[in-house]
Symmetry: C2
Subunit: 243 residues, 2 copies
C-alpha cells in the first residue's frame, strides 16, 4: 500500500489517495482521533472519480462519528483495465433493459459473479493493508453497494462485524444462497420507487439474509434519492455494532 497524495478536508479530516498494487483507493481518517479508530469500507458501483462526491460525503459523515473510511476501485472500472467478458455482459444487460426485456439470469451471472469473485479478495487485501496502519484499530463495517460484493464479504471476511447494504437489482441466484449464510447485523436500504430496481427481489433478498439482527429502511424516491437522515441512521447502526 503506497500513499500517493493527501489533503485536509473539513473538520481536519485527512484524505489520502493510495494504490494497492495496481488498484487505486482513497482513505479518510478523522482529524481528532488520538487512538486507533473503527473502519468503514465504502462500497460503490465502480468508478471512483464519478462516485467521489457521494463517497466523500459519506466519508465525512463517518469521520464525524469518529470512524475512518476507505474504498478501492472495482475491477474493470475507472482507470483499471476493462474485461472483455464483463463489457459484453454489461452491453447485453443494457440491451435487454433498453428493449424492455427481462434480464436473463445467465446475463446477470456473467456480469456479476466474476466481479464478485475478483473484487472480494481485493477488498480483503485492502483490509489487510488498512488494519496494519496504526491509526486504524477496527472493528470493521461495510457500507454501500454493490450488494453482491457486500454479501460475499459478509460471508467470507470474519473481520467485518456489521454491514449497511444498498438494495440493488441484478443479484445472481447464487448470492441469494450466500445471503442465507450471513449472520452479522445488517441494515438494508431500499429505495421504494427505484426505477432500476426490482422491489420484490429486494424484499426477497432481505428475507433471505440469515442474520438475527437485520433491519430494512425503505424510503421514497429513486436510486440516488436516499434521504440525508439515513446517513445519521447508518452512523447509529455502526455505533451500536462497532463501538
Amino acid at each position: 500500500m503506497r500513499f500517493t497524495s493527501e489533503q485536509r478536508l473539513d473538520d481536519g479530516v485527512l484524505e489520502r489517495e493510495f494504490t494497492l498494487g495496481e488498484i487505486p483507493g482513497i482513505m479518510w481518517t478523522p482529524g481528532s482521533a488520538s487512538a486507533p479508530v473503527p473502519l468503514i469500507l465504502l462500497g460503490h458501483p465502480g468508478g471512483l472519480r464519478t462516485m467521489y462526491p457521494r463517497l466523500v460525503a459519506r466519508a465525512l459523515h463517518c469521520a464525524a462519528q469518529g470512524f475512518a473510511a476507505a474504498t478501492i476501485e472495482l475491477p474493470g472500472s475507472g482507470d483499471r483495465p476493462r474485461s472483455a467478458v464483463a463489457e459484453q455482459a454489461r452491453a447485453d444487460l443494457q440491451g435487454a433493459v433498453r428493449a424492455g426485456r427481462p434480464v436473463d439470469d445467465e446475463i446477470v451471472d456473467r456480469l456479476v459473479l466474476p466481479l464478485v469473485d475478483t473484487a472480494a479478495p481485493e477488498w480483503r487485501a485492502a483490509l489487510d493493508a488498512l488494519l496494519a496502519l496504526p491509526e486504524i484499530g477496527g472493528p470493521v463495517g461495510y457500507a454501500g453497494g454493490v450488494i453482491s460484493i457486500g454479501i460475499r464479504l459478509a460471508v467470507v471476511e470474519p473481520r467485518i462485524s456489521a454491514a449497511l447494504l444498498f438494495a440493488g437489482s441484478f443479484v445472481p441466484r447464487a448470492l441469494f444462497d450466500e445471503a442465507r449464510q450471513v449472520t452479522i447485523p445488517l441494515l438494508v436500504l431500499l429505495q421504494w420507487d427505484d426505477e432500476g430496481n426490482d422491489r420484490q427481489q429486494a424484499l426477497d433478498l432481505f428475507d433471505a439474509f440469515g442474520s438475527e439482527e437485520k433491519t430494512l429502511h425503505a424510503n421514497m424516491g429513486g436510486h440516488t434519492g436516499v434521504p440525508r437522515f439515513e446517513g445519521d441512521a447508518g452512523n447509529q447502526f455502526f455505533v451500536r455494532h462497532l463501538t
Copy 2:
C-alpha cells in the same frame, strides 16, 4: 379534562392520570421543560392497565427528547363499557384465527370501522384539552397502533404533523383508501415475523400512503419484539418534524 392523580417518575417526568368525560387517560411531561413542548399522542390496542409498562417506557423516551406524551383509553377497552357489536366481531375474528380460516373483510369491517369512528373524535377531543394546557405547545405527533386509528387521525386532524405507525393486520379496505389521502411524514414500523400480521398487507399499506416522505423500518421478531433502537429512531423522526 380533570386530573385525578399525579406522581414524579425518573428524571423528574410528571405523570398525571386524567379523565375526559368518561374516558380515562394519562399524560407525561418532561421534568425540565420551561417553555411549552411538542406533544406525542401514544396509540395502543386498548387496555391502559395492560399496556401501561410499554406506554410509560415510550413516554419516558419521549420526555428524554423534551416531548410531552399522552394517551386515552379506547372505546370498549379497559374499564370502559363493552360494545356488544364489537365483542361479537372480536369473537368471530378470534374464532376464524383459531380455526386457521382467513378472516372475512366483513368481520374486520364490523370490528374496526366502529372503533375508528368512535375513537378518532375522542382523540381529537383529548387533543383540544391537551393543547389548552399551558405546558403543551405543539406541534403534535401520533405514535403507535391501532394503525387504522392512526390513519383516520392523520387524514382528519390537521394538528397532527407527523405519525409513527405500527403495522398491524385487520385493516379495513376503506382505511386503505384513506391511507392514500395521508400526506404528513410517516415512519412505519413492521415486525417482519409477526405471527399475527400479514406482511404483504403491511407492505401494500405502506405503498398506499400518499405521503411524500414515508419510511418503513422492518425488523426481525414477533409482534412485541420491536428493538430498543427503534425508540431512538422514533425520537429522531419526531425531532425532524416537530422541532
